[in-house]
């Protein structure tokens, strides 16, 4: 019996393995890209002749959080979601949260035990932001890779969906 994406069904061992790999992809991309984006923002500001805004710490920290949210957390979550969505069929709605959780927990452990980073309010807000960004990205990735099945399942073709009828 074949199971369609997002439908409930038994969770097999390989589903968990693929979900974990999705989490590893999400975590790996986060770690790789975060450093580039974090250090790249000051360079970008310097090239835009506005490096001085780094002095206004409160606004700069908020702006940097938005910048990282979009370019790092959403993107890495999306990649993890695409992998998981491609390889896992059953219970996707539930399982797509897992790559985001793995990535976030992995990042917390990395910062606490490898980088010895102190737990500050900024750190906690960045972790929350990562969890939200990774989760949204993961779901969008999972839905994107299975979009064809989802639209076919609804029984209407996308072209018919958007047809406008002009009433005379």
């Amino acid at each position: 019996m074949s199971i369609e994406p997002f439908k409930r069904g038994p969770i097999e061992r390989m589903d968990l393995v693929h979900t974990a790999i999705g989490g590893a992809i999400c975590f790996g991309i986060t770690v790789l890209v975060l450093d580039i984006v974090y250090n790249g923002l000051p360079y970008l500001l310097y090239s835009m002749n506005m490096a001085g805004v780094t002095f206004f710490t409160e606004n700069y920290v908020i702006a940097r959080a938005f910048f990282i949210f979009g370019l790092v957390y959403l993107t890495s979550g999306f990649c993890g979601g695409v992998y998981t969505g491609y390889n896992v069929y059953a219970n996707l709605k539930m399982l797509l949260v897992v790559p985001a959780m793995i990535s976030t927990i992995g990042y917390i452990l990395l910062m606490m035990f490898v980088a010895n980073y102190p737990i500050t309010s900024e750190f906690i807000s960045m972790v929350v932001l990562q969890l939200v960004g990774n989760t949204i990205g993961s779901f969008l990735g999972g839905y994107a890779i299975n979009w064809k099945f989802l639209t076919e399942e609804s029984g209407t073709k996308p072209s018919e969906k958007f047809t406008l009828e002009i009433k005379k």
Partner: protein
């Protein structure tokens, strides 16, 4: 051509579009906040910064970090560092309240402005020698300068072979200004690569002339 359109249609689907929109919006919001910050503080080519300790203006394309320390036992201190990445020159500012001035002077066994300047210069030299064993401290001049309406004393030093760039030892120029006002200590340090130090003196003059210490 038809195949390309097919691929394009399979890629341009709502979740992908939504992801791209979210990424774009977060980047635009981020840059919007930064533009707004610059626009609201820009005065000519300088950015105006103000808090309870100080009112100052910094060049709009220099990086900077302000820091505030507030300990009940040792008092309040405001420190700021700004630097020009293209010329490797730095300006450091420290403002101490009464309690923190007393703590600092007692801990370091200092008595007057001259001893504070000498202490800071020696500490900087000590830190540089950790990385450059052959560094040598050379005195250049002493003098006075008006800062925020008060007469500050200053000393200029050179630290020969202070750092190495592309396997070539380079010299560091270092200027330290300091003054007391009502038992509150204000320090301004200016240092950088010898080759850019003199050409950047204009920036330190502008910085000092726009500095208003409020405590």
């Amino acid at each position: 051509m038809r195949l390309n359109l097919r691929i394009l249609r399979s890629i341009i689907i709502p979740p992908v579009i939504l992801t791209l929109i979210l990424i774009l919006v977060s980047v635009l919001v981020s840059l919007g906040i930064l533009y707004y910050t610059q626009a609201t503080h820009l005065e000519g080519d300088l950015l105006r910064f103000e808090n309870q300790f100080v009112e100052m203006k910094l060049p709009k394309n220099w990086y900077g970090t302000p820091m505030e320390y507030n300990f009940e036992s040792s008092g309040k201190t405001f420190s700021a560092i700004i630097f020009d990445p293209s010329r490797i020159v730095y300006i450091g500012l420290s403002i101490f309240d009464e309690t923190s001035t007393e703590t600092f002077l007692n801990n370091c066994k200092l008595t007057d402005v001259r001893s504070v300047i000498n202490y800071e210069v020696n500490m900087t030299y000590y830190e540089i020698r950790k990385n450059s064993e052959n560094a040598t401290l050379v005195f250049i001049e002493n003098g006075t300068k008006m800062v925020s309406g008060y007469e500050a004393e200053y000393s200029v030093y050179k630290i020969l072979d202070g750092y190495v760039e592309n396997d070539v030892p380079k010299n560091i120029s270092y200027m330290m200004l300091s003054y007391f006002h009502n038992q509150k200590l204000v320090q301004i340090a200016y240092w950088g690569s010898e080759e850019y130090f003199d050409s950047s003196l204009k920036e330190i003059e502008i910085f000092i002339s726009n500095l208003r210490v409020k405590i």
